[in-house]
Each structure stands twice: as C-alpha cells, then as structure tokens.
C-alpha cells in the first residue's frame, strides 16, 4: 500500500509576520528546500499562497509524502493546518513539478482564489480536496502559460 501513489491536500494559515517582501523571501526558502527534498523522495506537487493562506498538494509514495507532511507539520511558519484529502491517487496531477508555485508572491493576487482558500480553512467539508486540487492545477498551468508568454 505504501508503494502506490497517494496524495495529500491540505491548507494552513501563514504564521509569518513581517513585510510582504520578507514573507516572499521566506516562501522562496520554503520552496527551495521543499524542491530539494521532493526530488530526493520522488514527490511532486504544488504550493499556493494567497491571502495569507497556504494550500499544498503532495503526491508520491505514501511513506514519502507522510514523511514530508510530518516535516511540514513541525514548521512554525504556518498554523491551523487542515487536511482536505489523504487518499490513493490516479496519475500525478503535477508530474513535471517537484513543487510548483502559484500565488501572491509571483506578483499578482487573485481575490477569488484567496476567498476560496479562506473558505476551505473555515469549513473543510465545504471545499473538498478534489476542488482544491483542480484549482491548483488550473492556477499552475496558467502561471506556466503566463511565464511562457511573457
């Protein structure tokens, strides 16, 4: 069971104080470390930061993503962690990203996304893991297109 592909989707609230720039710096650090760890552990996924809320998808072997999740849980830079999904998964949603990123620190903010994330935190049953997964996939692809176009 631990060998097959699983997915964890969670969201949490930013616990970082400081200016937008220092928060962006922290997020860059988080991403760099997470990408290095994930390449080593065969994990792919995406991180979204919007309106002070993180949403993250981790996909890979169950033991690997559980290990990554536990590392993330011990991080004081976020709080109010809400798990939206932990389940066996079909094909990877982010096969090409060790940790894709979409969010405010990329220079733009999307109020609709921020509002949906806030809802997910307030009531995990209202926003399912699947919806969040789609949201992230959509955003990451758009960012990617945007990056190619610019």
């Amino acid at each position: 069971m631990s060998g097959s592909l699983h997915r964890i989707v969670y969201c949490s609230r930013n616990a970082l104080a400081g200016s937008a720039a220092s928060v962006s710096g922290e997020i860059r650090d988080i991403l760099a470390l997470s990408r290095a760890n994930n390449r080593r552990d065969g994990i792919t996924g995406a991180l979204l930061y919007s309106g002070g809320v993180f949403a993250q998808v981790l996909e890979g072997r169950l033991d690997a993503i559980e290990g990554a999740f536990e590392r993330i849980q011990r991080d004081p830079r976020h709080r109010d962690v809400t798990v939206l999904q932990i389940a066996p998964a079909g094909p990877r949603g982010f096969p090409d990203w060790s940790m894709a990123f979409a969010g405010d620190s990329a220079g733009r903010s999307d109020p609709a996304t921020a509002a949906r994330l806030a809802e997910a935190l307030a009531d995990p049953d209202a926003v399912g893991g699947e919806e969040l997964l789609d949201l992230l996939r959509d955003l990451v692809v758009r960012e990617d297109e945007w990056a190619l176009a610019s």
């Binding site: 699983h6 559980e66 536990e70 849980q73 011990r74 004081p76 962690v81 798990v83 932990i86």
Partner: protein
Amino acid sequence: MAALLDRATARRTRRAAPKARARRPVPTLPCLALDGLPQAVLVFDAKLRLLLGNAGLLGMLNVPPALLAGRPRLVEALAAGKRFSPEALRATEQVCAAAVARTDGVEETAHLDLANGLSIMLRLRRIGRCRWVAVFEDVTEFRATESRALALALTDPLTGLANRRVMRERLGTVLAAPSGREAAQAAVFCIDLDNFKPVNDTLGHPMGDALLRAIAGRLRAALRGDDLIARVGGDEFVVIQEAPGPEGGVDAVAARMVDLLGRPFILNGNLVNVGASIGYALSPADASDPDALLRCADLALYQAKAGGRRGYRRFTPEMEARARARRLLEQDLRKALALSQFELAYQPKVNLRSGRLAGFEALLRWRHPERGLISPGEFIPVCEEIGLIVPLGEWVLRTACLEAAGWPAGVAVAVNVSAPQFEEPRRLVGAIGGALARARLDPQRLEVEITESVLLRHGAATRDALHAIRRLGVRISMDDFGTGYSSLTQLQSFPFDRIKIDRSFVQNLLDSAESAAIVRAVAALGASLGIATTAEGVETEEQLARIRADGCTEVQGYLFSRPVGAAEIGALIASLGTAPTPRLPVEA
C-alpha cells in the same frame, strides 16, 4: 586476582616470620605465573619505583622491556609506553601514592581511559611492608556492554525519549545547582494527550506506537536541544527546561507544544487528530524541591484538562488550595457514612389529574459537622471517583424504603441510582430486593430513577439489570430527559415507566419557544407511548398552567414544596394528600 594477591601476601608473611626480615634483600617474585595473566601486573615500592612487571605490562601498556631493569619511577615507565595521557598518568600516580599511604590493607582503585581507547580498571594493594602490587585490567568490553545496558535502562525504547527515572534525576541535579533570585532556574511541563486512548483502541496498537513516535518528534521540534523530554506513562510526557528565561517565553514554549501536538498526523494513510493539555511550574517561584515542583506542574495539568483541553496552564497557589480542600473532602466523605452524617430529604410529586400527592423523590443530603449542609453537586462526583457511591447508594435505598414504609399506602418513593452502581448489576439488584424485603415495602411503591448516562455505559448489561429490577415489581423512570445526547434513542432501548422532563426546559418554558416546544413534544410522546411524564422544577402558577395544558401527568417543584426532612413528611402528606387541587406553595 584477589586470590593471587592473597597467595603472594601469605608467602611473604611465611618468609617474613624469622626475625631478620627487614634487612634481607627483596627476593624476586616468580614471574612465570604472572606472565600468563591477561592483566598487566607490576610491583612498586614506597618511592613509586617499579620493581617488577609481567608480560602484560609490556604488551597491554607498551612499556619498553629495557626500562624494567633500572628500577624506573613507575610513571616514567608508563609514560614511555605512550598509552597514558598526562591526566591518566597523574591519576595513576595519585592513586599509587594513596595506596602507599594506606595502613588498613584496603584496596585502592581507579578507572583510566587510555589514549588507544582502552578502558582500564586499576587496583592497588600492599603485598609486603614496603611492596605494593598494581593490576591494570582491560575492562573496555565490559564497560561498553554496561553503557549499552545503561542506555536501555534510561530511555523509553519506543520513542527514544528519557524515562521517568532519568527525568527525576535530571530535575534533582538542575534544582540542586545554585540559582539567582530573579531568573527562573527550571520550568517543568507535564503533558498529557487528550485523545490517545480512542486512537489506540480503534486503529490498533501499532498505530498508537507510530503516533507516540511522531509525538516525540513534534516535541523535539518544539523544544531546544538541551531540554530534557521524557515519556513517563502511556501518553504522558514531562519536559524539563533549564534556565527557561522570562515567563512570557515559558508560555510561548507551552503554546508551541500545544500547537504542534494539536496539528493533524497522517499515519499509514490515516488522518489522526489528538491534542495535548499542558501544565507547568517554575522553580524556584512555585517550588524548589523536585517532587513538589512535579506535583505543581501536575496540578496545573489537571486544571488545563478540566478547562477544556488543548491548552496550557501555569501552576497557581489556588490550585494547591483546591487540591487540599478536595483531599479533605475525600477524607471527610470516607468517614461520613460511618458517622451517620448523610440524611434524606423528600420532595413531593403531585398527580395533575387527581391533584393528589403521588409520591416523593428521595434526595441525598450531607450534613458536615463543620461546614453544614453540602450540596450533592459537590460531593457526589467525589463519591463516584473514590468508589464510595456504591455503598452510599445502597444506604439511600435501604433508608428510603424504611422511611416510605411508614407513609400511607398510596405514596411512592423514587430513588436515584447512578451509573457506577450498574457496574455490579447483581449487587445492585440484590440491594434493591434486600431493601424492599427489610422494609416490607410493596415493590410497586419504589421507583428507580436513572439518567441517560447510565444507559450509555455498558448498554446491554445495564438493560438486563433494569429488566431484573422491573421483575422485582419496581418501576423505572428516566431522569433529566432531554439533556443528554440521544435521549430518544435511549427511550427506545428500554420501556420506561416514566420520563422526567429536565428542569431547564420547565424554567425556560415561558421565554423560549424551543423549550416550550420540547415540553409539549415530550408530553405528547409520553401520552402516545403510554409513559407517565413528570415536569421537574415547577416554580410558578404560569408554568403549572402551561404544563397542565401540554398534558404532563405529574409535576414536582418549589411551587408545591421544597424537599423536606423525614420528620416533616407527615404534615406535608396531610396538606397535599387532602387538598383537591394543590395550588399554593407549601412553605416551611
């Protein structure tokens, strides 16, 4: 080794028996036997000069053989072997000098760690008037085994955290160190998981073990490297933080632990939520003795748990006072039954159709010799905790039956029976039967009142006991109806004779549409199921009118009478039993 020394000493003594021993040159000891020993053995004199050494000295300690002939100073010979550090040499010289100074023949010993990693046990003993033998034994292997065993004895094998013993010793050491007046010397945190048992029971022990290991990891992440974390029970932990800094900082540490332990865990595909409550105490402010400090932290933990879990509390002196009061209450309660300090008060229940007295509910009172009447809300929970509730419940049954036997034939008595009494169903049924027989009371006149919590515990066994009680001829009613979690389900699980509508609904009857609807619905439910309904806590005429209109069959409350002592019962029966419609409150 001791045997060898003893033989050498004996030989020396025999030879020394003739008078002229002092001047005779020291004979060389036979070295053949010594060479076969695994230890390094040497003999030295009062000036710490090396007189003799065996093969081990050359091998294990690497002393050059050429040196031995010239009676070198012992430390110089050892230094030449290059196995001894300067400290080890100094230690050796000191212990040799100490052996020479001894006159009682007792062995001197020392532990030496050599440069090549060998661990040496050195023993020294006098073997003649001015001869001493030193034996160096390689104990490296032994000490390694010993330290492995020690590590095992000191850590919790599941989590790798320290165990209670180590925690207690560390706390002793920390508190023994001198401290300034201002700064806190140590903070002790007692941590208890809020929800561990259900996880362990439902997901299995391997998952429980994995959870405990993850908890240990989170605690390590929340704390400094030099904080001591110990697992001291199934799901209990203690953290000792030396020099914790200002108080706000200690709060922050506690908050961080509560935060990290309250976050979800994912274990083998299962989402697991536990949480932790923490109590902490500081030395020297709260206590400076290890046991007292631990107790303070534990009392604070108790308060944190009582305060709704997933939080932390710092110890306050009031907690100690409360605990002391609680201990006193416990001691007094244990004596109260024997000293006949309990008594029963009776509150009448009036039938709304006939307007006549239907019976009394027996209510327990404790008349404390110094404190006067103590409310059941204060002492019943303590009785349940200390196991006094069963004998006390039996006393209530016996007394209520005896007193009711003296009342007019139509007047019933209701007795509350609590959940712990149902844990021994046979004993309970026997006690009820015994109380009825002793009082020669018609079983129809006894009613047993239970709350929903009774049925929630041990459902099937409790239902069996209720049926057995019913077979005695006793009626059974459900008390405090509507306040539990699943009242209607419980109603289905046993054919109750009566439902008592909780006073909270009656009191809000006129102000709250919800309460009014509940009272009406329960009365209708009782009517259609053929179950009598009693409204409790009726205090006003308006409430009474409403309850009557809703169709309840019985009422109880201050409107008719407060609970009265056994002595006043006669008068109450006379006034209630004869009045066609009791309306006015009977005030004493």
